[in-house]
Symmetry: C2
Subunit: 529 residues, 2 copies
C-alpha cells in the first residue's frame, strides 16, 4: 500500500480531532479554521519528464519500461518527504520538487546500471525508501532528478541464527523485516515513529533511532555490514563485528544520506523475539527530577528497553497519550510522566523491572501502573496522524530534536524552548512547546520537541524563522543539530558548522572520489561542489 | 621511567625462564641456546640527524632545544615498536628505522607548529605514545622522519562527573589515567596487555581493546570526542554521545593510526570504580564447547566483565598462567580453561556471577574456583616479559589476532592454526600454536594466537612466510586482518584487500585533504601516494 500522498500513513487510519481539542486550540493558541483543502492530485502540475533517450536508458538499466514511471501520481508520491513544510507545500499543490521520473531497480547491479545511465544523461539521483524524511532529505538542489525507489529490493538475503545476523535489502519496510525475522524467532527491535513506513536502507542512511533504543540500541549500532552502490563501483564493508583494521568504514556510510552512494544491503544484528513486553508509567514532580532518574538508569542500570520522559507541558497536554488529548482525563497537575518498558525473557524482564523500579522510586518517582504504558504503546505510531488532523484544523504542528551530554541537558532544553517560544510569540502565534527525552545513553540524552501554534498567513514562511532560531539555540547550547532525524537540506547549513570546515572537507573529499559528477542527492547533507 | 629499549617493560621485572621450561623448549620444539647477546645501545649506529636549520625550526615549534633530542639513546628508544621482529632487529643492533630526531610538544598548538616545521623542512612525522605497536606502526616507509613523542601531553583536561566523561591528553599512560580518574572515584576500564606502557592517544589511533572489553567495551566504544591536529588545521569532533548529523567522524579518526593527523585530546566515557572484582576459572571439555558457552553469555547475558577461553594447547602449556608454565602443575588432560571476571557494585556483581555461572554450567562448564582467575589476574600483563625470556633462551615467540562472526569461528581457528603449523613445520621448526578468545560480542569474537618455535637461522626472515600464510588464512576464512593490534606496515597489504579498492580510495581522499604532502606516517595504514 502507498502512503497518503498529501499527509501521513494509511488514509483509513486518519481521524478528525475531537471537538474538545479544536476548542483547546482555539482558546489557548488562537487557531482559526482556515481553508486547508488539499488540491486534487491529478490537477497538480509537475516538471517535464526526462527526454525519451534518457528514459530508454533507464528502462534498459532496470529490465524494462514497466519499472520507469513518469505519470503525475507516481512523481507526486515521490515529491519531498513528510516534514510539516513538505505537507503544507504539497497540500497547496506545489510539486516543484517532483522527480522527473521514478525508477525501480530490482538488484544491486541494476542500481549500478541506473547510476551509469544517469551519469550519461545528466540526471541526478535521489534514493527513495519509505519517503518519510522530515529534514528535506528528498528535495535535492537540482531541478532534474530521478527518484530511485527501492521497493522492489525488499527481501532478506541471508540469516545466520548462530551469529545472530541477517542481511536485508534496503527497500524492506520495518514491519516486513520484523515479519521475515519472526519466522526464525528473531526481531530487529527497531521501532521509530516512522516504523510502519520506513525502510532498512533509510534507517541506515539517516542513522535512525527507535523508541526501544535503550534496549536494542540505535540503528547504527545494529549495523554490522553494508553494501554501497556508487558511481565508481561497489563498496562492501564489515568483515567482523569489530575490527582494528583502520577507520570503521561502516560509520562513514551510516549517516551519509545517499550522498556517497545507494545502500543496497544491510547486515544487521538480530535478537530473539521477546517473551514478554511490559510498559509502565511513572510520575516525577519535575522534568529535572525525571531527567536525573533516567540518567541513573542509563548510567548504572538496569536498562529498560523503552525509557522516555515527557516534560510538564507535554504531560499536561497529553500528547504523549494522543488518545486522551484534551479529554477530561488530562490532569491539571500532572508533573512529568515517564514510560519505562521491558522486553525480553520473563526472568530477565522481571529482574530488570524490579531493579529499575527501585531506582526510579529512589529518584522520586511515583508508580502509575501499566495503564499509561499501555496507552503509550497503543499510540506509539499515531503522532503523525494527529499532525494531519491538526493541519486540517488550521493549526501548525512540527517536531525537532537534538542530543547532548547529561550536564548540558538543562541548558539545551531551556535554550530551544526559549527560541521557539520567543520567535513564534513575537510573530503573533504564541506556541505550545512540548518536549520529551526518548533516547538515553550513559553520557547523555536526546531532546525531542513538539511545537503547536496557530498558522501564520503563509504557514511555511511563518515557521522558518522559528526553526532557524531553534537550530541556532541547539548549536549555541552545545547540542547536535540532529539526534535521529538527520541533516537533509533543512539542517545542512548548521551541520556544516557542527562538523567544522575540515570535517566537511574530509567528507567532500570522499564524495568527490565516490561520486565525482555529483549525481547523488545534490545539496543534501553536503553542499553542491 | 622508560621502557627497556631492547625488549619489554621494566627491566627490574625481567625473569629468566625456569629450567623446566628450557627443557620443554628443547625437548618439544628443538630450541637450541644461541648467542642472543644484545648489542650495547651506545654502539649502535643511527642515521644522520636533520640539518641544523630544521632542528632550529623544530625547537622553535616546541619552546626550545630542550624538547628536541638527537642523541643516539633517545633515537633508539623511538625505533620501531615491540613486535618480535622489532625486538630481534634492535637486539641485533639494527637501528636503520631510527627517527632523525625526537620532538616533544607540550600543547595542541605546538603539535600544529611541529607539523608546519616538518612540512617546511621535508620531514615526515611519526606520532609516538607508548611505543608499544606490534604491527610496524612506528616504522614509516621514509628514511628521514621525526618521532613526535607525546609524553609531555599527559594530563586530564576536564572531567564531568554528571555526564561521566573525561578529556584526556594523548600522551597519558593508562595507569596514570586510572590514577587521575580514581581521585574522582572513576575508572576508564581499559586494560590491554600493553596497559602499563600504552597511552590514550595510541589506544584511540589503533582501536585498542582491553582484557575487560566484555564489561567496559572496546576503546573505540569509549570515545565520545577527539581533537586532531593535521597539516591543514584542527578537526574537533563529538558534540553529543550519539548523533544523526552525518557520518560519525570520530570513527574516521579512530583507527587512522596517525595517517590523518595527531590526536591531541580524547574525551572518553568513564565509570564508577568497581566495589568488587572477582575472577574465576571454568573448564570445558573442548574449545568448541567453550566457544559455545562464551557465545551464550555474549548473546543472552549476563555479561561478565572479563571473559576468555584458552584452547586445548594454550591450556596445556599453561601460557594462560605464565607462573605455572612447564611446572608439575600443568595438567595433561586439562581440556580448555576459561576465565570469567566480574567487576561492579557488590549487588550487580553477585547477580551477574550467579546467573553467568548457571549459563556456563548448562553449557558444560566445570567450576574451577577462584584460583585460576586470580592467577590470570596476577599475570595479566606478564606475557611480553615471558617473550623476552623466550627470545633469550633462543626460542621464537610471537602473537597475532583476528575476529569474525560466531558461525565462522571454527573455520577461522582451523585455518590460521594450519597455516602457522604448516609453514613452520615445513621450514623445520614445528611450532606450538596456542589460541584464546578474549573479546566477545553478540555477533562474533576475536581469536588470539601465540606461536612458539625454534628460531630459524635468520629468525626474522624465517618468521615472515609463516606470518604471511597466517594473514592469507585470516582473509581466506573471512576474518579481519586485525581485531585490536592494528594495521601498521605489517598488515597493510592485507588491509588493502580487506577494505577493498574503493574503501581505500575513500580513505586516501581523506588523507590527501588533511595531509596533502603525506607527512604523517608515510606507508603506515595506507600506501604512499
Amino acid at each position: 500500500m502507498d502512503m497518503l500522498w498529501s499527509g501521513w500513513g494509511d488514509p483509513a487510519k486518519a481521524a478528525p480531532l475531537p471537538d474538545s481539542v479544536t476548542g483547546l486550540l482555539r482558546d489557548l493558541l488562537g487557531v482559526k479554521p482556515r481553508d486547508t483543502d488539499t488540491h486534487d492530485l491529478e490537477e497538480i502540475s509537475v516538471p517535464e519528464p526526462p527526454p525519451a533517450t534518457a528514459l530508454r536508458a533507464l528502462a534498459d538499466a532496470v529490465g524494462g519500461a514497466a519499472h520507469v514511471r513518469t505519470d503525475t501520481e507516481s512523481r507526486i508520491r515521490h515529491t519531498r518527504g513528510k516534514s510539516t513544510p513538505d505537507l503544507l507545500k504539497i497540500r497547496a499543490g506545489d510539486a516543484g520538487d517532483a522527480p522527473a521520473a521514478v525508477v525501480l531497480p530490482a538488484t544491486h547491479d541494476e542500481v549500478l546500471a541506473v547510476l551509469r545511465a544517469c551519469a550519461e544523461h545528466g540526471l541526478a539521483v535521489v534514493p527513495f525508501g519509505g519517503g518519510t524524511s522530515v529534514v528535506g532529505g528528498l528535495a535535492p538542489e537540482r531541478s532534474t532528478f530521478v527518484a530511485l525507489d527501492l521497493r522492489r529490493m525488499n527481501g532478506m538475503l541471508d540469516i545466520d541464527p548462530v551469529s545472530r545476523t541477517a542481511t536485508l535489502q534496503p527497500g524492506l519496510r520495518a514491519p516486513d523485516a520484523e515479519a521475515l525475522l519472526a519466522e526464525y524467532g528473531f526481531t530487529l527491535g527497531h521501532f521509530p515513529q516512522s516504523y510502519e513506513w520506513a525502510t532498512i536502507g533509510g534507517f541506515a542512511a539517516a542513522r535512525s533511532s527507535g523508541q526501544a533504543s535503550a534496549g536494542y540500541g540505535r540503528f547504527d549500532e545494529m549495523v554490522l555490514g553494508l553494501t554501497l552502490a556508487t558511481p565508481k563501483g561497489t563498496l562492501d564493508v564489515g568483515r567482523a563485528p569489530r575490527s582494528a583494521a583502520g577507520p570503521d568504514l561502516r560509520q562513514l556510510i551510516l549517516g551519509s544520506e545517499g550522498a556517497f552512494g545507494v545502500i543496497t544491503s544491510v547486515t544487521v544484528r538480530i535478537r530473539p523475539l521477546p517473551q514478554t513486553r511490559i510498559y509502565e508509567g511513572w510520575r516525577f514532580a519535575s522534568f529535572e527530577e525525571g531527567t536525573t532518574a533516567l540518567r541513573r538508569l542509563a548510567q548504572d542500570g538496569p536498562r529498560p528497553t523503552v525509557l522516555r520522559l515527557s516534560d510538564e507541558t507535554e504531560t499536561f497536554v497529553g500528547l504523549a497519550q494522543p488518545d486522551a488529548i484534551g479529554s477530561a482525563e488530562a490532569p491539571t497537575d500532572a508533573g512529568c510522566t515517564a514510560i519505562a518498558g521491558y522486553e525480553g525473557t520473563e526472568e530477565d524482564t522481571a529482574y530488570r523491572r524490579e531493579q529499575a523500579a527501585a531506582v526510579l522510586r529512589a529518584a522520586g518517582g511515583t508508580y502509575l501502573g501499566a495503564e499509561p504504558g499501555e496507552r503509550w504503546a497503543h499510540g506509539r505510531y499515531s503522532a503523525p496522524y494527529l499532525r494531519d488532523a491538526l493541519l486540517d484544523a488550521g493549526a501548525f504542528a512540527e517536531t525537532l530534536e537534538t542530543a547532548t551530554f547529561w550536564s548540558r541537558v538543562p541548558e539545551l532544553y531551556a535554550a530551544v524552548r526559549a527560541a521557539l517560544t520567543g520567535t513564534l510569540s513575537a510573530a503573533g502565534t504564541p506556541p505550545l512547546v512540548m518536549c520529551h527525552i526518548s533516547h538515553v545513553y550513559e553520557n547523555g540524552a536526546s531532546l525531542y520537541f513538539t511545537v503547536v501554534s496557530a498558522q501564520g498567513e503563509d504557514a511555511v514562511a511563518h515557521w522558518a524563522p522559528a526553526k532557524q532560531a531553534a537550530n541556532e539555540a541547539v548549536l549555541g547550547a552545545g547540542g547536535t543539530i540532529s539526534h535521529h532525524h538527520g541533516v537533509g537540506t533543512d539542517h545542512r547549513d548548521w551541520y556544516l558548522r557542527e562538523a567544522g570546515p575540515l570535517g566537511i572537507e574530509a567528507l567532500r573529499a570522499v564524495k568527490r572520489r565516490l561520486d565525482p559528477d555529483g549525481l547523488l542527492n545534490p545539496g543534501i547533507l553536503l553542499p553542491i561542489d
